[in-house]
């Protein structure tokens, strides 16, 4: 049997302790406030708007615990957090931006990666590299040098022209170049009381429609939906139309 170290269990304690991250829900679908205490960053759930992009990036970068990941363009840090969770407990994320940030399990460097490129110390050591830069093409040659063999690079760009230039640059040293776009459609659930079509109608129309109804239903398992209230889902009309393009590529394997 495996030893179970209770201090390593993620399972939630039943009472809220000091320093915990607490999210307050007002109703079943609205958050009231998010209070983040230092030290609990890794327990934080990623921004819902981009969860589809983040989830897909983590799977397509083939991140598993123990990986070394480089990120360029820390931005709000929402991806950084998710990258760190994916490589925890033994891996490490090195993230670079113009501005200084702070986090756990993560090393943040201030650097103009687009111009300077990556520090040499990571050369050939990165399992994966993620770029979120206005001109990804400039950083790609340096990023490719950091990758291990068969390592995966991802570049996120909102505009197709950035994708076109990045893909062009990738072709020289990378392979398996693929561009994706991912969106999340959400649905709202409503209890829907169907108007009782027949009931309203019967008085004024007379018996004719009922006759016809019987004819068409004859011998078949017609499903009547009228009467009882039904729960139904429909797409939310206010949808996010675009977040960005995700371009993935692998370092060519030299055999």
């Amino acid at each position: 049997m495996l030893p179970v170290d209770p201090t390593k269990k993620l399972s939630f304690t039943r009472c809220i302790s000091d320093g915990d991250l607490v999210i307050v829900y007002e109703k079943y679908d609205t958050m009231k406030a998010v209070e983040v205490c230092a030290g609990s960053v890794l327990g934080n759930r990623t921004q819902i708007l981009y969860i589809a992009d983040i989830s897909f990036v983590i799977m397509f970068l083939e991140l598993v615990p123990g990986c070394l990941v480089l990120e360029l363009g820390t931005g709000s840090g929402s991806l950084t957090t998710s990258l760190a969770r994916a490589v925890a407990p033994k891996g490490h994320v090195y993230t670079f931006d113009f501005h200084e940030q702070r986090a756990q399990l993560v090393t943040v460097g201030v650097r103009d990666i687009q111009g300077e490129g990556f520090p040499d110390e990571f050369s050939g050591r990165a399992d994966s590299v993620f770029l979120d830069l206005p001109q990804p093409g400039l950083a790609i040659p340096s990023a490719a040098k950091m990758l291990k063999q068969d390592g995966v690079l991802c570049s996120f760009s909102p505009c197709i022209e950035q994708v076109q230039r990045a893909s062009e640059t990738m072709r020289s040293s990378l392979t398996d170049i693929r561009t994706f776009e991912i969106l999340l459609h959400t649905y709202e659930v409503r209890e829907w009381k169907l108007d009782d079509f027949q009931g309203d109608e019967a008085g004024s129309v007379g018996s004719h429609p009922h006759k016809r109804q019987h004819r068409s239903n004859e011998g078949s398992n017609v499903q009547e939906t009228t009467g009882s209230p039904t729960v139904m889902a429909r797409p939310c009309s206010d949808a996010r139309g675009h977040t960005g393009y995700l371009t993935f590529a692998r370092l060519k394997c030299l055999s």
């Binding site: 113009f98 008085g203 129309v205 068409s216 939310c236 949808a239 139309g241």
Partner: protein
């Protein structure tokens, strides 16, 4: 009424490109910020910003014209104006900007209090006869932060001030395209969230074309009825049917500039009347009386000339918050649009009985689809096409299943259109960040001879 009658007959097939007295127009103020349907007349007025402007200068102008508020000797008036290509570009950059700013604005310090021009200063400029453009330039010159902004932020600032101090009015033709898009933007619930692409598919899938006899269940304010009538162009018929009680509103169909020829092809009939004839039984007199009743019940729709005026006023105000103010009596000054949606005459109903309708479109997003379909489908000609719109998938799935098992229709398909608009600009091309994710669902198919 005399004014209206003396105007040349507006035949939609002539496809007029300029307005006339009594013409219905869509006014787009500040690039979609405000959308107003109005009927042009010498007395019609519209409040733009804090100024009441006569719509009289718009009469006789081509659709697609731009207007701006100018200060004349007798007060503010609307004057034609040709926007520069530059301004057009600024407008189009609107959406791209959000991205660029998202990427670069960490260093941007935007302080709106850095404006040294006061409201009093601006009022003084106005009284001295300054144009809107001049005020905008003055605001820019007196902004302490304008020079520090990025190029995109500068354009955004300029556009914001232009909208406030030099609003632009674009006059559009009220066609299905523009009417549907305007309602979707401002009052989507009034048209059951029916998107332009969904509506266009309903027309195609139901095979609507010249000389069609189209049966519609239009619970989307008359938009469907109007769209079908626009396609028919004065041929065939669109028959707006309804359950007992009052007919469903056809107000939106009145926004179209339909001439008499088209209006006569828009009729209504309670479902009971179509069904009784369908069954080969002559309508009893009691039902006639009942139908007469209904016509009176629908007081806000098609009864008298006075209520027509009210209806047209209502439709004008539907989209815009402030109702266009007419200083003189609307009954006298405003032209009467053509009458549409009369009760279907008995001889036409008899013809439908003989031939069946050639198309069926149901847009009753709140009602059970199957209830309507099983009642109306037998009224169709064999091989007639139908298209049913619904906000939920499940009622259409049930409906399709029932039609399959009942061997009532073939070629059935449930579809959901998916529409995406793009920003296409040099180095800034991407799908628009906001989209309308709700298209609704369509069940389409072909009616067959019941076996």
């Amino acid at each position: 009424m005399e004014i209206s009658e003396s105007k040349p007959q507006i035949d939609s097939s002539e496809n007029p490109r300029s307005t006339w007295d009594g013409c219905s127009v869509l006014l787009d103020i500040n690039d979609g910020d405000r959308l107003v349907f109005a009927r042009l007349s010498a007395g019609a007025k519209l409040k733009i910003g804090n100024k009441n402007c006569s719509l009289q200068p718009l009469i006789g102008c081509p659709f697609g014209s731009f207007f701006r508020v100018e200060n004349g000797a007798e007060g503010p008036y609307l004057a034609g104006y040709t926007p520069s290509t530059e301004v057009n570009n600024v407008q189009e950059k609107g959406d791209g900007q959000s991205i660029d700013e998202f990427r670069d604005n960490r260093a941007l310090v935007d302080n709106n209090k850095a404006q040294s021009l006061t409201g009093e200063d601006i009022n003084a400029m106005r009284q001295q006869g300054a144009t809107g453009d001049e005020i905008v330039e003055a605001l820019i010159a007196n902004s302490a932060t304008f020079e520090k902004k990025t190029v995109f932020s500068q354009e955004k600032y300029r556009l914001k001030k232009q909208k406030k101090y030099a609003p632009v009015v674009l006059m559009r033709r009220p066609f299905t395209r523009s009417i549907c898009e305007a309602y979707l933007k401002k009052y989507p619930n009034k048209i059951g969230f029916l998107r332009m692409d969904t509506l266009s598919l309903l027309l195609s899938m139901a095979n609507v074309s010249a000389n069609s006899d189209v049966l519609v269940v239009d619970m989307v304010g008359g938009l469907l009825t109007g769209a079908v009538a626009e396609r028919l162009g004065g041929t065939g018929y669109v028959c707006n049917t309804y359950l007992s009680g009052s007919p469903y509103s056809m107000d939106i169909a009145r926004i179209f500039n339909f001439g008499d020829e088209i209006c006569k092809r828009i009729v209504r009939s309670p479902l009971a009347d179509l069904l009784s004839v369908q069954n080969g039984i002559e309508k009893p007199a009691t039902q006639e009386a009942e139908s007469g009743n209904m016509e009176i019940q629908s007081n806000d729709q098609i009864s008298s000339a006075v209520s027509m005026e009210e209806a047209s006023l209502t439709s004008e105000s539907v989209i815009s918050d402030p109702i266009p103010v007419s200083t003189s009596s609307p009954v006298i000054k405003m032209s009467k649009p053509a009458k549409l949606g009369e009760k279907a005459p008995q001889e036409i109903i008899s013809l439908w009985k003989e031939n069946g309708f050639s198309s069926l479109i149901i847009a009753a997003p709140e009602l059970d689809a199957w209830g309507f379909v099983k009642e109306t489908l037998p009224l169709m000609s064999n091989s007639a096409s139908f298209a049913i719109f619904h906000q939920y998938l499940q009622p259409l799935a049930t409906c399709m299943h029932n039609l399959q098992t009942g061997k009532m229709a073939i070629g059935m398909q449930i579809s959901e259109p998916w529409l995406r608009e793009y920003q296409v600009l040099p180095s800034r091309t991407h799908p628009c960040m906001q989209m309308n994710g709700f298209a609704g669902y369509i069940l389409s198919g072909t009616k067959i001879l019941p076996t």
